[in-house]
Amino acid sequence: MRYLCLIYEDQKQMSAMSKSELDAFIGEYFAFTDDIKKSGHYLGGEALQPVQTATTVRVRNGKVSPTDGPFAETKEQLGGFYLINARDLNDAIQVAAKIPGARWGSVEVRPIMEFDQQ
């Protein structure tokens, strides 16, 4: 079964890191990605640019309105994701717990909605 692991992190905490701390952190992500490729869990994953670069798009009455945001109201923002294949939720939780960002921020694990292909 497929699960999306959404990684929420405190960007302030990230930007306060020194160059060497940041390199070590990114190194951990590379190692983790390698691990879940070897274990067969990995389907995909990306890191996102900071939330200041985000644009929100809405269509109302046929009119497209792109706006700045979402505004950083909460301390933690979506910073990246992994799409994984796991046996069940317990397996997915095991994988999510090893995502480096889970130690500072949080990881939301969401099952993918599967539609029948008739």
């Binding site: 079964m1 046996r87 069940d88 939720l89 317990n90 397996d91 939780i93 694990v109 099952p111 029948d116």
Partner: protein
């Protein structure tokens, strides 16, 4: 078979339902992989028993018979549903092909299924109130109405919690399995918290629908017994001890008029000796494992009280010592407050008051009525009447329980006589 002969068989089916239905359900969930399908199969299997046992005789192993019939009924149900949902065909085929399916004949397999059911209902991915409702419904077999009455909420609310929880188990694929060795301590913690929550809900409400509430405590104790039978971990043993030792004081906690009676003032001849003996023995057992935790320590404290002939004759030094260990194992302001009350008994009210004031000054427990009533009590004993009155009034403003309100009002009334 005549009507007369059918009657004892029907009574037997009822008895088998009471003793075996939760075991049969636990195994059916594993075989069928779905809660709702398993519940329907359970119902169908017992309906079949009522029809067939008077005619064909009672099977040698009723539980295995029920699991087997339930499984076949579920396959029928799936076959009928396939017409509407083609994806079920695969499941129906798999079930039919799996002739080696363990139908719950062997004892160990059945007990594992019961544990699987408990751990699944108490999965940490489910919200706490849903864990409680689902455990009472599936593991204990309480009806939705009974659960709603016990928690003073509406049946539709409870039903919705249960439906959502089952939906999450299905959609997020929460597995029907025992936790791994590494996960066991944390997962057991969640289960114990659910059991303790059920117990407390039944124990701390001492008025109103007292009968239903009492049932909830007995249900928690039954769950506790089941748990140590299946998984004799020290903290599970400690929790059962704690519940039994609290329960032993139930009839002494309220006066005939329904007023709250504090530990010091309770008529100790009303304490239930059998429960105390059982609880104390369980405390010894958990302590001797050397792997005990907060539940066992709280039970050990309760055991010291239970074995003391009076409040004055209580070994307060031992109680303070146990609170010291507990505060290290599970630091919390509430435990500090209880420790302060014990220190007051050992060293005098002044020493206890200093500790409580330190907690309140720090900004903890300001909204906790028991902190203020404990403070009031110590001020009263020190003759600091004005302070005692202020603290009783503060506690009165915070409590939501009727018997506690009356108790505090009584204490306030006594103060004004000085």
């Amino acid at each position: 078979m005549s009507e007369d002969a059918a009657e004892p068989v029907r009574e037997l089916v009822d008895a088998v339902y009471r003793s075996e239905s939760r075991r049969v359900l636990a195994t059916l969930i594993r075989l069928l992989g779905e809660f709702d399908l398993a519940e329907e199969a359970l119902h169908d299997a017992f309906t079949a028993a009522v029809e067939r046992w008077p005619r064909d005789g009672v099977p040698a192993n009723p539980r295995a018979w029920l699991v087997s019939v339930g499984r076949f009924k579920a396959i029928d149900t799936l076959r009928r549903r396939v017409r509407f949902d083609a994806s079920l065909a695969v499941l129906a085929q798999r079930l039919e092909a799996d002739t080696s399916a363990d139908t719950g004949g062997d004892e160990e397999g059945v007990e594992d299924d019961r544990l699987r059911l408990i751990f699944t209902c108490c999965h940490p991915a489910l919200p706490p109130d849903a864990q409680v409702a689902l455990t009472l419904r599936e593991v204990c077999g309480l009806t939705t109405e009974e659960i709603a009455r016990a928690f003073l909420t509406s049946a539709p609310t409870v039903a919705q919690r249960i439906v959502r929880a089952k939906g999450k188990i299905r959609d997020a694929r929460i597995p029907y399995q025992l936790p791994s060795r590494a996960d066991l301590p944390d997962r057991l913690d969640t289960v114990l918290r659910v059991v303790y929550l059920v117990f407390n809900e039944g124990y701390s409400a001492s008025s109103g629908e007292s009968l239903t509430r009492h049932d909830l405590s007995s249900e928690a104790i039954r769950l506790g017994r089941l748990l140590i039978e299946l998984l004799p971990e020290p903290e599970a043993v400690g929790l059962l001890a704690l519940m039994l030792l609290h329960e032993s004081r139930r009839s002494a906690r309220t006066s005939p008029a329904g007023e709250l009676v504090l530990l010091d003032d309770q008529d100790r001849s009303l304490w239930h000796r059998d429960q105390i003996a059982e609880g104390s023995a369980l405390v010894e057992r958990a302590l001797s494992s050397r792997r005990f935790g907060p539940y066992t320590l709280q039970a050990a404290i309760a055991a010291v009280h239970a074995e003391s002939p009076s409040a004055a004759a209580t070994d307060w030094a031992q109680i303070v010592g146990l609170y010291d260990v507990l505060a290290r194992a599970d630091p919390s302001p509430v435990i500090e407050l209880n420790r302060a009350a014990a220190v007051a008994m050992r060293d005098g009210p002044g020493a206890g008051l200093a500790l409580i004031d330190a907690i309140l000054v720090r900004g903890d427990l300001g909204d906790y009525h028991l902190a203020h009533s404990a403070r009031a009590d110590l001020c009263r004993r020190l003759g600091r009447t004005a302070e005692a009155r202020a603290s009783y009034e503060r506690a009165l403003g915070l409590t939501r329980q009727e018997p506690e309100r009356r108790f505090l009002e009584r204490r306030l009334g006594e103060l004004s006589r000085y």
